[in-house]
Amino acid sequence: EFVLNELKSAMGVMQHHDAITGTEKQHVTHDYERLLNQAIDDALIIAKQAFNKLTQKDDTKPPLFDFQRCHLNESSCHVSENSDKFVVTIYNPLGWSVREPIRIPVGNGQYEVYDSDGKQIKTQLVPIPNKVKQIPTRVSKATQEIVFIIDLKPLSYKSIYIKKINRTKRNTNNYDFYSNINNNFWGHIKEPYINKIEDVQTDKETIDTIKAIPFAPVHSEDISLIEDRETNLDILKDGKNDAEVMELEKFLKDSRRKGKGKDNVRIVDSYPNFNEDEMRMLADEPRTVEKF
């Protein structure tokens, strides 16, 4: 309720006649934009929790998805532009069935789109118009949009899986990978290094280097950062005996639980509207599986 109150409050302010007609001063316009944007971000917490409850089979595991909203009004979306695999959750807020076109901004390449029943959906890739690319405030790598038409039942959602195919081969700087491996691999792993492991996995010398890293550092506290990196896991498991693999998996299972706590703290920190009690409530929000 207190999360949603932020949006209720902002919507209350927007009933002012100046907000409705646009006769407010420009700095007031900017303040209205700030108020609304912050309130919508806050309200997204509820949507995220709701969708997590619906999509999660096992409440002991951390949420599968980190739901993000995108600036589709300028054909930009950080998730779809930067990820080779992503899920789009589409909700119909109307009380009747709709058939609507959906447009997802993406980078170059080919994509396959799967409906929630696992069947491939007919799609069309359409280049983003130059006029949109030239919008001065737009920050986006998207060059085209995936277009598909979706049927949604009343007040229902669909989860659409999109994956990139025929991935364009990127230039890989092996030198960077080696120079950072000792300092960062077991410590503060950043996204670019993870990507590079994927990119250079056909490079035998690099794989050998990873395999040569002693198994012992897995017990370090810092290693929790490597959780859920399947590509790394496969490489790490290779050449290990069953007992070692079991120990590795146990470690990763434990570190996932730790990760969940950290995630919650991070979410709370990014919402300055809430006081300490409210933030605690958010962090402690239990997630349970509801069956309809």
Partner: protein, 280 residues
């Protein structure tokens, strides 16, 4: 070779890729209708607000300098042809863009419009409008919903309660459009559904006109105390929106599309780098 046709099960549009014009629409029952989409701008007046004829166009009032708007020139056209969507993109000068789309199996013509940054190098404010021009004879009558609930009949240069002579024939015929504006004859109705509240009118027979974006350099002295001159990175805003055009008298289709535009599907995105397709 410049002539082309884009269409779906409901509408076929005859277009000219050289001029950037749509010429005609053919309906499902083979009825043909002259139909074109053009963008124009009115120059905003800038006065000292000391008399009714010296008022500026501003946040509160629309007061064009002349009654004839300037038509935007076609700069470049692009045709996108596919199974799901067909698009006719027209870049217009200065600072305009229209993208007319027809989707497979969907009963509307969608116009995506982009306006901005509105140039003010000539120190003249500008108010951009889009016109849907047809050969329907509507006898000066058009219909707007104004409050999103009730459709009201409007008549050009007319007030139902008194005899009116409009000193300002353009703004005097503008009305609020919340969900829809339409014109009709006995057989056909041309409805335009905006994705937000806009001002609208029908100044010429067969036309529907909607205000899209305004950038003005003088205060109209009605209280806001500054000109409606929004900047973004110093250039001026770029505004992007959609209209859906329906040529039909089917009320249910119209109402469904109104709400489809205003309360369309909500999208949330999640990275799935740790989720394989099979697991999903």
């Amino acid at each position: 070779d410049d002539e082309a046709v884009i269409g779906n099960q409901f509408y076929n549009l005859d277009i000219n890729t050289a001029s950037g014009l749509i010429n005609k629409v053919t309906l499902r029952d083979h009825t043909k209708l002259n139909f074109t989409i053009n963008m124009y701008y009115y120059s905003g007046s800038c006065g000292d607000n000391q008399g009714t004829d010296r008022r500026s166009s501003g946040a509160y009032i629309f007061r064009p300098l002349a009654n004839n708007p300037v038509k935007l020139a076609t700069q470049r056209t692009e045709l996108i042809n596919g199974d799901l969507v067909k698009e006719f993109r027209v870049s217009l000068s200065p600072s305009g863009f229209t993208n007319t789309k027809v989707y497979d199996g969907l009963n509307f013509i969608e116009t995506e419009w982009i306006v901005g940054p509105i140039p003010i190098d000539d120190e003249v404010g500008k108010e951009y409008v889009i016109k849907y021009e047809t050969n329907i004879l509507n006898n000066g009558a058009f219909y707007t919903d104004s409050n999103g609930r009730q459709i009201l009949a409007r008549k050009l240069n007319f007030r139902p309660q008194w005899n009116v002579t409009l000193a300002e024939p353009i703004p005097g015929n503008y009305y609020p459009v919340t969900n829809e504006i339409y014109i009709e004859n006995k057989d056909l109705r041309v409805t335009v559904l905006p994705d937000r509240s806009e001002g609208g009118t029908s100044l010429i027979e067969g036309e529907v006109e909607l205000m899209l974006h305004r950038r003005l350099l003088c205060d109209d002295a009605f209280g806001v105390g500054e000109a409606l001159n929004e900047t973004a990175k110093g250039l001026g805003l770029v505004v992007r929106g959609k209209h859906r055009v329906l040529i039909s008298k089917d009320d249910i289709t119209i109402k469904k599309n109104v709400l489809g535009l205003h309360l369309g599907p909500q999208l949330l995105f999640s990275d799935a780098k740790n989720i394989k397709y099979d697991e999903w």
